[in-house]
């Protein structure tokens, strides 16, 4: 009996891993080695693929992996200009009919040609099923339907003139194969978990959640030199912790970290043997939005005082370690050279001027120099960089006699508070502001989905709505005027635009950096060209 009882405890302890071992054996086995000859690039990412359907998935890893399989109509160059990709030409037959002319030499991985019907199907399916995470859905507001005029021409029938829709839909929308996605009744609930059909440069062949995603070369691939992507396969491995990710890069377990590096790690990795750090221009910005529905933020003088209180250069120097640049308080990222206005100037860090502005506005400081202004600022604790500069902003404001109470919170609470407008000051960042007209409409028109300042300025609204139907040259002029209005009235207080850095093993070369934290060097145009130096 004594022996039996101890044995029972031992059996419990030893049996558990045995059970685990058996179950682990039941887990999906890795796919045996590929037949394709050539190199494998192993890429580290911090998150899993949430959804393999590019019309639904909106996490960064979803984007990176599905973007390698489902083409976009347009791409972007380093100056932020939209360039041909699947669409070789686009424009408007008349104010209410847009068109894309697409390439005729692209095939899906199952051999079927990519046609205008695929593009039209994708647009109509998004309109019909409204997939939740789909960015394109909101851009199709003025599109009534799409049709294929021929095998290579897609028509967009607009409900009202819109000069931005072709650029935005072309840049953001992944085209999916109609002969695969058309078989499901609702693309919004289609998981697309296997038998993937893509059109390269790589197509997913196996996925092990929490572990790795393997993609293999698709041939022919007309965008790659010689019609063939340089790598045989690309493997994305998941390392949720950034420190582990960096150790994996240093040990050679992975070749590239897809996520941009935290500012503090950039210099460390720059000085690490065998590692190359590469700069990627940003396309978004970090900003402070003052909720103008809340008093006293409806007063221009108060917003200006807050703007003059912040030491922007110190934030960029200390928190971003010099890896961010000023936008000159413009909501247009400097990388967008066609729109950025070099005559704009950043709000000067001047606490004394901030105090003067408040006094002129009728506020009186107490014996300790405080004006009795107390404001709540929300930010997400998941965003470590914003959390750091938010405290600097509060400290700067205190020097100007304004009290800012910091409310760092988890992302979901932050989203809920943002959605409800439950803040005085919102601190955060926009990831990609690739099209000034579209983004200004979302940010500064009344009811705009990301109008966090609750701006409602008829003059600004007119500039933006005029730009939506203007020619590209007219748009630049209207956007410049709108940017000045935003800056001068502190409708948005842009703190910096961050340049990003990615790291890879030095033996790899051929990367093409595309602007934004989303595209970086894992864009299809880049990974189709990557090779080893030897």
């Amino acid at each position: 009996m004594r022996r039996r009882s101890f044995a029972a405890l031992a059996a419990t302890a030893v049996g558990a891993p045995a059970v685990g071992g058996v179950l682990a054996g039941c887990a999906p086995s890795p796919r045996p080695g590929s037949r394709a000859a050539g190199a494998t690039l192993t890429v580290a990412t911090t998150t899993d693929v949430v959804n393999f359907n590019p019309l639904v998935g909106n996490s960064r890893t979803d984007y990176w992996i599905t973007d390698l399989m489902y083409p976009r109509l347009l791409t972007i160059d380093e100056a932020g200009n939209k360039q041909p990709w699947l669409a070789v030409r686009y424009g408007y037959h008349d104010p209410k009919t847009g068109y894309y002319r697409i390439r005729d030499d692209v095939r899906w991985s199952d051999g079927k040609p990519v046609t205008a019907a695929d593009v039209a199907f994708t647009i109509n399916a998004i309109k019909r099923d409204k997939p939740a995470g789909n960015t394109t859905f909101g851009q199709l507001t003025n599109v009534a339907r799409a049709s294929a005029a021929s095998a290579t021409e897609v028509l967009l029938h607009l409900s009202k003139p819109d000069q931005t829709v072709l650029r935005e839909v072309g840049f953001w929308m992944n085209v999916v194969p109609a002969h695969v996605f058309g078989k499901v009744s609702n693309v919004a609930t289609f998981a697309n978990t296997g038998d993937w059909v893509g059109c390269g440069p790589y197509t997913l062949v196996s996925a092990a959640k929490g572990q790795a995603y393997t993609l293999e070369r698709t041939e022919p691939y007309p965008w790659a030199p010689g019609g063939k992507p340089s790598l045989a396969r690309v493997v994305f491995r998941v390392y949720p912790d950034i420190n582990t990710e960096i150790l994996a890069l240093r040990s050679g377990e992975v070749d590239l970290i897809a996520n941009t590096l935290p500012p503090a790690q950039v210099d460390v990795l720059r000085h690490t043997t065998g590692i190359t750090v590469r700069k990627v221009p940003g396309l978004g910005y970090a900003h402070l939005a003052y909720n103008m529905k809340h008093k006293p933020l409806d007063k221009l003088a108060v917003r200006q005082a807050l703007a003059h209180a912040v030491d922007y250069a110190a934030i960029r120097r200390v928190v971003l370690q010099g890896q961010a640049v000023s936008t000159h308080s413009s909501p247009i990222a400097p990388v967008l050279t066609a729109y950025a206005d070099p005559s704009m100037t950043e709000y000067r860090h001047d606490p004394a001027h901030a105090r003067r502005l408040l006094r002129q506005a009728g506020y009186h400081a107490d014996a300790r120099g405080r004006f009795g202004l107390s404001l709540r600022m929300i930010y997400s604790l998941q965003d470590a960089v914003t959390a750091q500069w938010a405290s600097m902003v509060a400290s700067d404001a205190a020097k100007a006699g304004i009290t800012i109470t910091l409310q760092g919170m988890d992302r979901n609470t932050y989203l809920a508070k943002t959605d409800a407008g439950d803040y005085d000051i919102y601190a955060g960042n926009f990831a990609i502001m690739d099209d000034p007209v579209t983004n200004m409409a979302l940010t500064y028109l009344p009811g705009g989905a990301i109008n966090y300042s609750k701006v409602d300025d008829p003059a600004l609204s007119k500039l933006i709505t005029d730009a939506q139907v203007a020619t590209p040259d007219e748009q630049r002029e209207l956007v410049a005027k709108a940017a000045h209005l935003v800056r001068d009235n502190v409708y948005d207080n842009v703190v910096y635009m961050q340049n990003f850095y990615v790291a890879h093993r030095t033996e790899w070369t051929g990367f093409v950096a595309k602007p934004s934290e989303l595209l970086t060097v894992v864009d299809p145009a880049s990974l189709a060209r990557v090779r080893t130096r030897s």
Binding site: T214, A248, A416
Partner: protein, 321 residues
């Protein structure tokens, strides 16, 4: 009905009640979380109307009691629902991850007991010596360790500096055939060691204290007086009673093990259920979270029942209470 059967029946009934409570609490707590799943997955272009449509699609626009009723009904039929974000059955999401968590936590528990019991015995039988003090010090230090620090240190030392073991994952993507099992084992070593280091202090210190108490009991004195060698007194007489608190600890620590596995799995990029829970929390994927918590609650309840039953085997007096 025999005493043992009645004892087992009571434990099973209590376990089921605990499970129902855990299911209900999970259901309610998730809905008390700030934010809503539509916001967590929606893109900035989405209007309020479309967010409402999404909530309708998720069934979250119905009264709470209706949602709860439907959820329980589905659960009774073995249906954990469909993931909001992944659009696949929750059961498949969890089943892909569960084996790795079982492998990791089970191995960690086994190694912890295999190392912790002899160390506890050593410290108790060498009470007051340098060995005892060292074991106690190690135990206290182990209890105060922080998962990320231990994990990163182990990865740096064994993975990067010595290059003996892989940095992350459960196996290399190119591992195949028979070599796959060795590859899995190599990937298991560091996360298992990390969990073991965090756990072992509790076992060693608990066992040491209870064994010292047991060795001072009359029946051990009697055994010694009868001329039994000290080794037999310790291992055959005292240890059995001394193991009772340790057995309780195994049951209690299971919950901690699973909780600890969330961080461990994150640091070591281990594809277990802990990481799945973390991701589901960030996306407010209620069905996956509910499924995961039901599964974990069931695991803890079953482990607790087994502990109770084992307790009954170790100490027959328990069955009559």
């Amino acid at each position: 009905m025999s005493t043992a059967l009645r004892f087992a029946g009571r434990r099973v009934a209590r376990g089921l009640l605990t499970l129902w409570f855990a299911v209900t609490a999970t259901f309610l707590l998730l809905r008390l979380l700030p934010g809503n799943p539509a916001l967590a997955v929606a893109n900035p272009n989405m209007t309020k109307h479309d967010q409402a449509l999404l909530l309708h699609q998720y069934g979250l626009d119905q009264p709470l009691i209706v949602q709860y009723g439907k959820y329980l009904w589905q659960l009774l039929h073995g249906n954990l629902g469909i993931s909001f974000t992944q659009q696949v059955p929750v059961s498949s999401v969890l089943l892909a991850r569960l084996p790795w968590t079982l492998l990791l936590t089970g191995s960690a528990l086994a190694v912890t007991i295999a190392v912790g019991v002899p160390l506890g015995v050593l410290a108790a039988t060498r009470r007051g010596t340098v060995v005892d003090r060292l074991v106690q010090l190690g135990g206290v230090v182990g209890q105060s360790l922080f998962v990320p620090s231990v994990g990163i240190f182990l990865l740096f030392f064994f993975g990067l500096w010595l290059r003996w073991l892989p940095i992350g994952g459960a196996y290399s993507p190119d591992a195949a055939g028979a070599g796959w099992y060795g590859n899995v084992l190599a990937h298991l070593v560091l996360p298992c060691l990390s969990l073991m280091l965090l756990q072992i202090g509790s076992y060693v210190l608990t066992l040491r204290a209870s064994l010292i108490d047991a060795l001072g009991e009359d029946y051990c004195e009697l055994a010694r007086a009868k001329g039994l060698p000290n080794r037999a007194v310790v291992w055959k007489h005292a240890l059995r009673n001394a193991l009772l608190p340790t057995t309780t600890l195994v049951g209690l620590q299971l919950g901690f093990l699973v909780g600890g596995a969330v961080l461990t799995e994150t640091i070591f990029a281990y594809p277990g259920i802990g990481r799945g829970i973390y991701e589901a929390v960030t996306q407010l994927d209620y069905p996956v979270l509910q499924g995961a918590f039901v599964l974990l609650a069931a695991t803890v309840v079953v482990a607790s029942m087994l502990t109770d039953l084992l307790y009954g085997v170790l100490d027959p007096r328990v069955r009559t209470r």
